[in-house]
């Protein structure tokens, strides 16, 4: 199916398109289109965030929306993340459907109070009386020496908080479908994007559609190793898998698409088949989501595992600025390949 495909390059896509006659968009265009359709179809939806109306349009993802819907619905805000998250939570409680946009995920610690203590717990504390239909878009930024305060990926923190849902789309199809699903979901959703795949292209239907939460996707089938890859790592894993195929190694790549709910079943069934589990994440290792995913497998049946679990992550350090250190910091398809080969050597 076209929407399960990860296209590693424009070429890749062109080959496919020629055969299938598909509409394609980039990830960032898909996000923009999702928001446009949401704003068009639902008067409760509005967007707020620092710079959502500026000429850059949040790396292009909100471009043109203020022109079309006006500053009353696409709202630039003060640099006051916690207060404004509270404002969004209040508006959501009153029945609006705010989408709060953060250019970098690093700014979320500013508003953990409103996310963790308010948005996540509100529906429960009120005994099911008041839902908080709030979507918080945040972008994992990295590279160009941005250093420790402008390169973080903190999805693991939110996975530990009951009451939040978490989406981490990797393809343009999922970017659009999951964002629409997030806004329609009616719960607080952490919607986590990755700057490095903003220009990746893929099949995106024109209509407003949703991708269900809690359903992962097999991006590539394989027999010997399961790689659970998140966000941008899906591309690296797909690349590694293709290259390893040429070397006769069969790798299954799973993209869970949402972390909460997490598609355990898909992951467990794959590990049952392959006997080997690698988790490729876009964040630090210790206390990260890799541990959770591995644990879900060994809670079911440790006997499935024929080899040690491997986690592929950023170095467990703050992010350095120097380009040589940055290069060492971030894993790539090569890291995945080497890890898999090492696993199979055992």
């Amino acid at each position: 199916m076209p929407w399960t495909k990860v296209f590693l390059s424009e070429d890749d896509l062109q080959q496919f398109k020629a055969a299938e006659n598909l509409r394609s968009l980039s990830y960032v265009e898909a996000l923009r289109e999702a928001q446009e359709q949401l704003l068009e179809s639902d008067p409760r939806v509005f967007i707020l965030g620092e710079g959502v109306d500026d000429p850059g349009g949040i790396f292009g993802s909100t471009l043109g929306l203020v022109e079309k819907f006006g500053p009353g619905r696409v709202i630039d805000i003060p640099i006051a993340e916690n207060g404004l998250t509270g404002v969004a939570v209040g508006a959501a409680a009153a029945g609006m459907r705010p989408i709060f946009v953060h250019m970098r995920m690093d700014f979320l610690p500013m508003c953990m109070d409103q996310i963790v203590n308010h948005a996540a717990k509100w529906y429960y504390m009120s005994g099911g009386r008041v839902p908080i239909p709030l979507v918080i878009r945040s972008i994992i930024g990295r590279g160009w020496g941005s250093a420790a305060q402008h390169s973080q990926a903190l999805h693991a923190l939110f996975m530990h908080i009951p009451g939040l849902k978490i989406a981490m789309p990797s393809t343009p199809y999922d970017a659009k479908g999951l964002l629409i699903a997030a806004v329609e979901d009616g719960n607080p959703v952490m919607f986590i994007e990755h700057r490095w795949i903003y220009n990746s292209v893929g099949y995106v239907p024109e209509e407003k559609y949703t991708v269900p939460f809690g359903q992962g996707v097999v991006r590539k089938e394989g027999r010997e190793v399961t790689v659970v890859a998140l966000s941008q790592m899906v591309y690296e894993a797909a690349k590694a898998a293709r290259e390893l195929e040429a070397e006769g190694i069969s790798v299954e790549v799973i993209d869970p698409r949402t972390l909460n709910p997490l598609d355990d079943e898909l992951i467990c069934n794959s590990v049952k088949k392959t006997g080997r589990l690698v988790i490729a994440d876009v964040a630090c290792k210790t206390g990260g989501v890799g541990g959770e995913i591995a644990c879900r497998v060994v809670e079911k049946a440790p006997g499935w595992l024929k080899a040690p679990v491997k986690r592929i992550n950023f170095a467990d350090t703050p992010t350095p600025s120097s380009p040589v250190l940055e290069e060492a910091y971030y894993p790539t398809s090569l890291t995945i390949k080497e890890t898999i080969k090492e696993l199979l050597r055992r």
């Binding site: 404004l84 509270g86 404002v87 939570v89 209040g90 109070d113």
Partner: protein
């Protein structure tokens, strides 16, 4: 006794009587908690507002049922003044299914959306931004609603106070910030937390009109809130009302913390002389708006209502324990 306006303020006698009735309700509601709390079956941390009833009564008198209200950990008075049935509050404090949150929230988190109480945060300063958010929603929808947020002097220590006031002023939102300055946050005196005792002075920096009020003078609060609510409803933007008052009981629970050395006993004595309920009662008796029998009847009827409410609460069943997993996520969707 008549229903004409009886004083220089032009407030109808019926309104004054209603203010007194609400204050009596709040006072008796909490006194009954004190009575039952020793039994240790009301397992929820209660933050009593005895001594501070005038603020809730004076402000809420101007609110429509659909106006939004965000309160804090010390919320009983605000909820009652907004009109919430004492039954669902008591039941909530007892952790029962008939509680306003089905036993999920306890005393710190009442919700009653039917009256614009969209849930309560017990994080200090937490409700300030939420009220700005409902006010934003109201402005967007032009629904004519006003949002009110009650918070303590402690709440004004928090950064969200600044962020909330700034955004409300910027967008001229229909929100009223009511600071209940009782000079303490738990046992921490205001003087250990802010350089001066006048919180209302912060508002000028945002261009927000603000008044410092005697928080025990319900008439003063009623009049100031009248202006503020009218201005907000007409699109004139936010107001800050600082109501200086005093908490008679300990920060949490039914005891008098002065006995534990938390605060000077003289202060309590002095403030008790300024009891907001007594002040209005004496005033209305003195001006002939009410007579003793009227007051006694109000107390008696209130007690009857509250006793029935307590009975209802204690007879209400506990939620089945499977409900622990209910309401983590809303299933309704779009």
């Amino acid at each position: 006794m008549s229903d004409c306006t009886n004083n220089a303020t032009g407030i109808p006698a019926s309104t004054l009587k209603e203010l007194l009735r609400v204050m009596v309700l709040v006072r008796r509601f909490e006194e009954k908690i004190i009575e039952v709390y020793g039994l240790q079956d009301m397992k929820s941390p209660v933050h009593l507002c005895i001594g501070e009833e005038a603020i809730a009564a004076g402000v809420c008198a101007h609110l429509r049922p659909d106006d939004y209200l965000f309160t804090n950990h010390r919320n009983h008075g605000h909820c009652l003044a907004k009109g919430v049935d004492p039954k669902v509050l008591y039941a909530e404090f007892y952790g029962r299914v008939d509680g306003c949150c089905r036993g999920k929230g306890g005393s710190m988190h009442p919700a009653w959306p039917e009256l614009g109480i969209l849930g309560t945060s017990a994080i200090v300063g937490g409700g300030i931004a939420l009220a700005v958010g409902t006010a934003l929603a109201s402005k967007m929808r032009q629904d004519g609603r006003v949002s009110v947020t009650f918070f303590g002097d402690g709440g004004s220590d928090e950064g969200t106070f600044h962020e909330g006031l700034n955004f409300a002023a910027l967008k001229e939102l229909p929100v009223i910030f009511v600071c209940e300055n009782n000079f303490y946050a738990t046992n921490s005196p205001l003087a250990a937390r802010q350089p001066h005792p006048d919180i209302y002075k912060r508002a000028a920096g945002y261009g927000i009109p603000a008044t410092a009020l005697d928080g025990n003078d319900v008439v003063a609060i009623y009049l100031a809130a009248q202006d503020a609510v009218a201005r907000a409803r007409q699109g004139g933007g936010p107001t800050l009302l600082e109501c200086k008052t005093y908490r008679w009981k300990g920060h949490v629970g039914p005891d008098c913390d002065h006995e534990k050395g938390c605060r000077p006993m003289e202060d309590l004595t002095a403030w008790m002389e300024k009891c907001p309920v007594e002040l209005l009662k004496e005033d209305l008796l003195g001006t002939g708006v009410i007579e003793p029998w009227w007051y006694n009847k109000v107390v008696q009827e209130t007690d009857q209502e509250l006793d029935a409410a307590l009975k209802f609460a204690k007879e209400s069943p506990f939620p089945p324990k499977e409900e622990i997993y209910l309401h983590v996520y809303c299933e309704k969707g779009s």
